[in-house]
């Protein structure tokens, strides 16, 4: 397949990863969080924030477990105000 024939609607469902949240999370936590380790509240998988699947074009930025797809964190950033909604997470460890 040489040409990208996907429609804009299809592409908008493509995820990026936790690196894309580096700026918003650094504001929320005061330190880089892409190297932090998260434990999923649904499947117990432990992974780096950088390895999570992130959907940017939802209302808010949705960070999902790369193993089971559970929503771990939803972040909103409206007029400089960060909203951090923790969903299916049992632990976050970072330095």
């Amino acid at each position: 397949m040489a040409q990208d024939t996907s429609t804009p609607a299809e592409r908008s469902t493509a995820h990026v990863d936790g690196n894309a949240l580096a700026g918003a999370l650094a504001l929320a936590f005061g330190t880089d969080m892409t190297t932090a380790t998260v434990q999923c509240g649904d499947c117990d998988d432990r992974h780096r924030v950088a390895a999570t699947h992130v959907y940017l074009r939802c209302p808010g930025m949705v960070m999902r477990c790369p193993a089971c797809g559970a929503t771990e964190i939803v972040l909103t950033e409206i007029r400089g105000r960060i909203g951090l909604h923790v969903r299916r997470v049992t632990a976050i460890s970072f330095a």
């Binding site: 040409q3 990026v16 990863d17 690196n19 700026g23 880089d32 190297t35 924030v49 950088a50 950033e77």
Partner: protein, 234 residues
């Protein structure tokens, strides 16, 4: 303290028909680590704001430069690639990201796999290596659709000792004089151009589909998941 800063475009470099490098002056900017990005924010006259991430293209300690590939129906990239000029003001936050970074003297060997504009943070790593004269062997495989989409072409071709650069074209119309690789990055292509998987770190960056295909091909070659760092541009 991380915060939004006013930035001014000081220089605009047309890289290709569809990609532009912008050099930005950001008061208070210190420096970045190779592989990091900035968040960039545009504000419309009615107050509507759009934020996107752009990798730093320049080497650490050099003026901040980003390279923007135009996405035709996009909200932000056409403005940056086609409209922004010296004097244009934008807001920038960063540098951010501590995972997708390369530091000299930390690894025996570096493998870089780039798809499309995913070359940008990897170019920062390569520029860093060249500026420092760092001896770490670098192996770059860069996939682009067509020759006119290749970013930093001459610079990438000017390899120094210890660098291996391979460009593969994935588009339909391969020019007859093209003597590089063709076809998508798969396990066979990688086996031809990469060293055996021992030691070292691998950085993979580009569109999500590219990153996933490249990471799967690395796994086929026996590259361990803990040695691979990925960044998806969407």
């Amino acid at each position: 303290m991380l915060r939004w800063r006013q930035a001014t475009v000081t220089q605009r470099i047309a890289e290709t028909d569809s990609a532009t490098t912008l050099v930005l002056d950001v008061p208070g900017w210190t420096t970045h680590r190779a592989g990091q990005h900035v968040d960039l924010r545009l504000t419309a006259p009615d107050g509507y704001q759009a934020t996107r991430s752009y990798s730093v293209a320049s080497a650490p300690a050099r003026p901040l430069a980003i390279t923007v590939q135009r996405v035709d129906d996009g909200e932000v990239s056409p403005f940056l690639a086609d409209v922004a000029r010296p004097g244009t003001a934008v807001e920038v936050r960063g540098p951010v990201g501590g995972w997708f970074v390369w530091e000299p003297n930390t690894t025996d060997r570096v493998v870089l796999l780039a798809g499309g504009s995913g070359i940008v943070p990897l170019a920062s790593m390569l520029r860093h290596r060249r500026r420092l004269g760092d001896p770490t062997p670098f192996h770059l495989v860069y996939s682009a659709r067509t020759p006119d989409r290749i970013l930093y072409r001459d610079e990438l071709a000017a390899t120094t000792e210890g660098e291996h650069v391979v460009i593969t074209l994935t588009g339909d119309d391969i020019p007859p004089d093209w003597d590089g690789e063709t076809g998508r990055v798969d396990a066979q292509t990688l086996r031809r151009h990469l060293p055996a998987p021992s030691g070292g770190l691998t950085y993979v960056c580009g569109p999500t589909a590219f990153v996933e295909a490249a990471a799967a091909s690395l796994a086929v070659l026996g590259y361990g998941p803990t040695t691979i760092r990925t960044e998806r541009f969407g």
